[in-house]
């Protein structure tokens, strides 16, 4: 896994923090909307944005990972979430096609990499 702060590190140094999800406004949403946000998950395999933490440095960041085959497509600092993330599917396709410009992100090198 390539940490945006520390570079490539063994995957055992990282902790998984779940999928990146947008929360509804707690002041205006209904109880049903809130329960869907709290509990429901997209459980099917796919390319998903996820929270990961580099444990040794306590650095939280976002990884784009294919949960069907455990391939990390790209990683981003957490600020990327505030700027808005492109749709996960589109990113994965362009990265798989070797479109380095589209897959750029926070690091150079091969756009698709197998998690160690």
């Amino acid at each position: 896994m390539v940490c945006p702060l520390n570079g490539p590190r063994p995957v055992s140094e990282f902790a998984y923090g779940g999928e990146v999800r947008a929360s509804p406004d707690p002041d205006t949403c209904s109880d049903a909307e809130w329960s869907r946000y709290v509990f429901d998950r997209s459980g099917s395999p796919g390319v998903k944005y996820e929270w990961w933490c580099h444990i040794a440095s306590g650095f939280w960041f976002i990884a784009l990972r294919d949960t069907g085959c455990d391939i990390v497509v790209d990683t981003f600092p957490a600020e990327a979430a505030r700027r808005g993330l492109p749709p996960a599917g589109a990113r994965a396709e362009s990265a798989a096609a070797g479109d380095a410009a589209a897959a750029g992100g926070s690091r150079s090198g091969p756009a698709v990499e197998r998690a160690p």
């Binding site: 998984y16 999928e19 869907r36 709290v38 429901d40 998950r41 997209s42 459980g43 099917s44 949960t67």
Partner: protein, 395 residues
């Protein structure tokens, strides 16, 4: 043992997705107890090839919530005469089940579980360290000095059974009553019209049916996508391994939540061992060295004399986990679509009672009283069935 069917019929009264223990048990009881025999069980792989054949075969009912205890206790009752029911040897073997406590807070949970269990008539007792030493003479009570055993929850009816045989027994019983089991048949779509199930598309053609039961464990979210339902289910792999065969020395089943270990010795002498879930979402049944190293070191804390014993095999299954460690069962917002899912790491022991309750639910269209704590809508009501404290190990 099973009839091979050349082709699918155009219509069935019920279609069950998944020929594992749960799906086949539901088919069996639908045919035997409810007189519904025009059933297709669709399986993309082979009978019992999923989590039915990948679990560590432990059967127990010492759960934490009243809903869980009543449900699993009914299952243990059904297990006991299942072999006779099938006329098939399931190698059902009552061993006694120790959940070791290494801390004061773990002891407190054991007392809590014991009281809930006893209240519902389940044979379950919090026991002290001397009792554990007598029951498991080969154990290192100090666990290498860093996690001394203070006591345990002892559950005398704890048992193991041959898991493949369970699927075969239910499958053969269903097959003899006219249920069609179609292996190598993958479901590619579930057709819904006006909020009702009308049919199923498969790799071997389309069929019409008013009722579909989904019993596919780690593949549940993919089927739910077909009917546009979302649930809290998330999928992590769960790994397990077995040692080379040894002479019989370990009679009871041993679980340690603190050390993340559960172990029993099978009829052929292998130690079957399991640990926690893999730490992140993945839809793959690959094996890792991390798992073998971690589990082996904790096994050696308990039983240091095993240091020369070889590990023969390891494997993984896909666990459909829920936030409260209880299953998601019963009717759904899609009429005619029934769910038997969220079986995570605790599904094998529930096979008979799932068959009983889901067949009732499918036949009548109403949830069986025993599964009312497990319905899909409990999350919207924020009424969870918190069963995590009764999970074997801290996942």
């Amino acid at each position: 043992m099973f009839t091979h069917h050349e082709s699918l019929k155009p219509t069935y009264d019920v279609v069950i997705i998944g020929a594992g223990g749960h799906g086949l048990a539901s088919a069996y009881y639908l045919a035997r107890d409810h007189g519904i025999r025009n059933i297709a069980v669709l399986e993309k792989g082979y009978i019992g090839g999923g989590n039915t054949g990948r679990n560590t075969t432990i059967i127990r009912s010492n759960y934490l919530t009243p809903e869980g205890v009543k449900f699993y206790d009914e299952s243990v009752r059904l297990w006991r005469d299942l072999g006779e029911d099938f006329d098939l040897n399931l190698f059902y073997s009552t061993r006694g089940h120790y959940t070791l406590a290494h801390t004061d807070s773990a002891m407190r949970t054991m007392r809590w579980r014991a009281e809930v269990n006893k209240h519902f008539g389940v044979d379950s007792e919090a026991v002290d360290a001397a009792f554990v030493r007598r029951g498991i003479p080969d154990i290192d009570m100090s666990c290498g000095g860093h996690a001394p055993i203070l006591g345990a929850l002892f559950h005398a009816p704890g048992a193991i059974a041959r898991h493949d045989a369970v699927a075969w027994g239910y499958g053969r019983g269903a097959d003899r009553r006219g249920v069609e089991i179609h292996q190598q048949t993958e479901v590619t779509g579930v057709r819904v019209q006006g909020g009702r199930v009308v049919g199923v598309d498969t790799t071997r053609g389309s069929i019409a049916t008013p009722r579909v039961l989904c019993a596919v464990a780690g593949f549940t979210p993919r089927i739910l996508d077909m009917v546009k339902l979302r649930t809290p289910i998330y999928v992590h792999p769960l790994q397990a391994m077995v040692s080379e065969p040894l002479k019989p020395w370990l009679d009871p089943i041993i679980v340690s939540g603190s050390l993340h270990v559960y172990v029993s010795q099978t009829a052929r002498g292998e130690l079957v061992m399991g640990a926690s879930l893999d730490p992140y979402e993945l839809h793959q049944t690959r094996s890792t060295l991390d798992f073998v190293e971690g589990l082996s070191s904790h096994m050696l804390d308990l039983f240091p004399f095993l240091s020369e014993v070889k590990v023969n095999r390891q494997w993984a299954g896909l666990s459909d986990m829920t936030p409260d460690f209880a299953p998601i069962m019963g009717v759904t917002p899609v009429e005619g679509f029934f769910l038997d899912a969220g079986w995570g790491t605790w599904g094998f022991k529930a096979t008979p009672v799932c068959g009983k309750t889901m067949s009732h639910t499918v036949a009548t269209g109403r949830n069986h009283p025993l599964i009312e704590g497990f319905t899909m809508d409990r999350f919207a009501r924020y009424q969870l069935t918190g069963e995590k404290g009764a999970a074997s190990v801290g996942h």
